[in-house]
Symmetry: C2
Subunit: 109 residues, 2 copies
DNA sequence: TAATTGTATCAATGAATGTTGATAGATTAA
DNA sequence: TTAATCTATCAACATTCATTGATACAATTA
């Protein structure tokens, strides 16, 4: 049987399906999807995020790190209040991965 | 602070964000995403699926059950070979959930 | 009938990871 | 300086869940 492009798993480099899977895994955690959606509205500091989500500060930091390491959000130091770290969503990256996913779900192969 | 629509979690009924999260969780398993993509090409019996994916038969059955319970695929008995169960993707359902997800990722709130 | 094929279910296991508490570091205010 | 605020890190715990082996059930074939 001819091998479907959906089922190839031999190549060393990450193929699109693996990238899509990682993206899905990152966002399948409720708090992370909330964070991403929350940041799409506007940039926020950590304390705004964990209070809005009703979770602990350290837990928010953890999820933010996961999102940032994957490249879906960025962070910077607040210019006025240097203690605060401002997080922002990387809309281009999000769109890139969302499009990649849609290729597997909607778009014709 | 006014509560963001991203962070509401009080209502009993499942809101869109919860539905999107479930959808993401279902697909964040590599074999399940492969199955869904594989079934988009054409309807297949279980034995075609587990052989193409290189996984055990019972594991394929398990993942198919998860996908079916969530409503992303359907199943029917093969008309010619009654032993076989043919699975098919529910393209409308997939599109519905993909659109729902895009509302959180891409579309303006 | 008995044997084979195709599929589903069950219990057990192991790995991954979300969550918590404690704590450290950096910045600002008193 | 001292205290308070904001964020990140670490270890430990708890839970979820993918995977495996065994087995049961249904349909077909010999």
């Amino acid at each position: 049987m001819k091998k479907s492009p959906c089922c190839q798993n031999g190549s060393k480099e990450k193929n699109d399906l693996e990238k899509a899977t990682e993206f899905l895994k990152i966002l399948s955690e409720p708090n992370r999807l909330k964070v991403l959606c929350f940041l799409r509205e506007k940039d926020r500091c950590v304390c705004d995020i964990w209070k809005a989500l009703g979770i602990q500060q350290n837990l928010a930091s953890h999820h933010l790190k996961v999102l940032k390491d994957f490249g879906l959000i960025d962070s910077r130091q607040d210019k006025d209040e240097g203690r605060k770290i401002i997080y922002s969503s990387d809309k281009a990256a999000i769109k890139k991965y969302a499009t990649l996913l849609n290729n597997f779900l909607i778009t014709n192969l």
